[in-house]
Assembly symmetry: C2
Homo-oligomer: 429 residues x 2
């Protein structure tokens, strides 16, 4: 690998003699961490962290802040019809496809200061360094701040043409239609179809993000090289027994949906753990009806969420869970019905991009580990139209979607440097 | 037993020569069942059953209907300060304590037409028969329609002096203070203390009620003779783990409160079934936080309700449940805290009253079974001030608190006859 890196350097130097020793270029770590701290003011909560929910006032203000940073980094700012913000640095080769890199700045309610923000600030920082170095990129470079990542990858779905019209025109849980919200951040919902980018329209997409799990932190590893974003199967399960008086119905005359639900919860855990691998399975929502202390539960509605890089494995696990849960429900005189409420297909990162990231990590002398992403990311949408890669930095204790979320400044700087060196390498391929 | 009944008859005849063969007296089955049907109009739901929640318009109208029936039965109607309705038939012996009998007519939301109503209409019917027969009772006979049985035995607690002032002045879940509601049904909340009856102030209290369980129906038995009303311990349990991302947190790095809750649900069931007896245990309410499909549950709040005629047994079961659940929670990195939210002490029926009911049942040639009441009843309050007995009639399939609640007309008539013959016997003791 050393040998190959050397050959690449020689090629790069011969192609861009004036770029000098670009492999030694580094981001301004103090600056990117300061921008991260500045961004955390938008939607800041008294107890720490932010509530910068997509399309809210804090999101609007935060996006304006990011546009200012983009301009300082010499980027030309635009907002596409979906509401995604782009900062463009034109390329020298007219036929070259754009290289995209970025993340999101919207948060969950009472979220943290790193999820999305690290990748967004670092992407602008990379552009800033290239401007300061006077780098002549071949490919157009597009720094992307996607909109509304947290509630369903809205911006990146719009970008790849996967945001159905009826979703745009439908009111959300807050009663406001998505179109109205998109307008708030400068989008143009009537022209959403024009935002679509088809397969083959980008050279690559690279996203730097916090791990949101605890593996890198626990093992003291600098960088995670994402092999793919796991697929998700979300099943809605309904268990129906018979609601009855908790005092007058003997134990052997009950059809208690709660007992069948409890068995199912334990079955999910046991089956998911029963095979090798990093698959996860969770019963996160469970509603008991009627839900009174003195009434035997007649119905329980619950969700089963299974995640893995292999859809085939997810389906195999579900088959076993369903079989066992059905048998157990029967034992209690309870019926089990389910629907596959939605699926996210796994999105594998592109081996060639992964190799470039690996090369960049090695060039920086950092430690790394190849790993799946258990969380969904805009990158999974971009993978459908072009080569995709993702870079993870450690989350302290794996805490995320919480004010306690933390990625240490050195790790932010490391991640931004890997992103910088990855973009430089991709541009020169 | 035949011989004893004969002796009693002779005594009865000698004491009340003009009463004739009172043991052959029967209620008017058609009339009591018609009154039951008439009462079911108040608060009737389109899908069947009633929503005659205490203090609501339907309850007010239903109580007015019952007062009219009382007057037709020759009773003198009054409402006590708590809002309980009484129909009085004076007794011939000035020193004799009153015999009380009755039930309630308020229902749960979307309840049935028999819970409370059967006992209320039958009590008035008994008085009606006595009036028609020109019976000269020694004891004053008080037909009672208690108020607000369903949400906490409000009326009977007021009657025995166990309705704290702050409860009267406190707003309920609907935001209306109890005092205001009591006024709606003709009570006088300022004078509630005057409603109190101390121990030794009644000769007996007898209540006819539907079983609300399925035992009598299943075994084809006419009458249940209640040995006591079970005690209830209601525990509020909180399991605390750590809420985290369901995608990025590996299975072996979770503190999933839902898993500990599932184990607890199954432990309650197993421990309660592990010993002989008719005790029951139920987890009826269970709330998962935060309750999102993609978040590992960080907290589960649930209720454990245990019922038995023996408080000692309830406590023994809980000790075992708590011990096992604590160990299981620990296994998952989850903490377990609980509070004993409330207890109802068991109320045993009075052996002498039970014997009179047994005698009445035998005199009518009906089959019977001694059994506990798994549900709470106003009778448990009255047991604290005097002799108490309860008569159960079958509930078809044990269904209660439901529009599907049903007690067949013949069973209503049987129950009313047992009540009539019990009151006659008690009056003549």
């Amino acid at each position: 690998m050393k040998r190959r890196a050397f050959v690449q350097t020689v090629i790069a130097l011969s192609a861009f003699p004036r770029q000098g020793n670009w492999k030694s270029w580094r981001v301004n770590g103090a600056r990117v961490n300061k921008h991260l701290a500045d961004l955390s003011q938008y939607g800041a909560n008294p107890q720490g962290g932010v509530s910068r929910v997509a399309f809210g006032d804090a999101d609007v203000a935060g996006r304006r802040f990011m546009m200012d940073l983009m301009r300082e980094a010499g980027l030309t700012v635009s907002v596409d019809p979906v509401g995604n913000t782009f900062g463009v640095r034109p390329g020298s080769r007219s036929a070259a496809l754009p290289i995209l890199f970025g993340s999101h700045i919207d948060s969950v309610p009472e979220g943290g200061n790193y999820d999305g923000d690290v990748g967004s600030c670092s992407a602008v920082e990379v552009a800033h360094i290239l401007a300061e170095r006077g780098y002549r990129n071949r490919h157009p470079l597009h720094v992307a701040i996607w909109c509304d990542e947290e509630s369903g990858l809205t911006g990146s779905r719009g970008f790849i043409g996967d945001l159905p019209r009826d979703e745009v025109d439908r009111p959300g849980r807050d009663g406001v239609v998505l179109a109205e919200k998109i307008r708030r951040i400068g989008g143009d919902p009537a022209r959403i179809a024009e935002a679509r980018h088809g397969p083959g329209s980008i050279a690559a997409y690279v996203e730097l993000h916090i791990e949101q799990g605890g593996m890198l932190d626990e093992r003291g590893i600098n960088i995670g090289i994402v092999e793919g974003i796991v697929g998700i199967h979300h099943y809605d399960v309904t268990l129906r027994g018979f609601a009855n008086h908790a005092g007058t119905t003997p134990m052997d005359r009950r059809q208690n949906a709660m007992l069948a639900a409890a068995e199912l919860v334990l079955i999910v855990d046991r089956v998911v753990r029963s095979v090798e691998g990093r698959q996860v399975g969770t019963v996160g929502r469970l509603l008991v009806k009627p839900g009174a202390p003195n009434v035997i539960p007649g119905q329980v509605d619950l969700t089963v969420e299974l995640r893995d890089l292999s859809t085939e494995k997810i389906e195999r696990l579900w088959t076993q869970i369903h079989e066992e849960a059905l048998a157990s429900a029967k034992k209690y005189g309870v019926t089990l019905d389910y629907t596959l409420q939605h699926t996210n297909l796994p999105a594998l990162s592109t081996p060639a991009v992964r190799a470039v990231i690996t090369d960049a990590v090695q060039g920086l002398g950092l430690s790394s580990q190849v790993m799946p992403s258990g969380a969904g990311h805009d990158a999974q949408d971009l993978a459908r139209i072009g080569p995709m890669g993702m870079i993870f930095v450690p989350s302290v204790k794996g805490i995320s979607h919480s004010p306690l979320e933390l990625t240490r400044p050195d790790d932010v700087t490391n991640g931004a440097n890997v992103l910088l060196q990855t973009i430089l390498r991709l541009d020169q391929q």
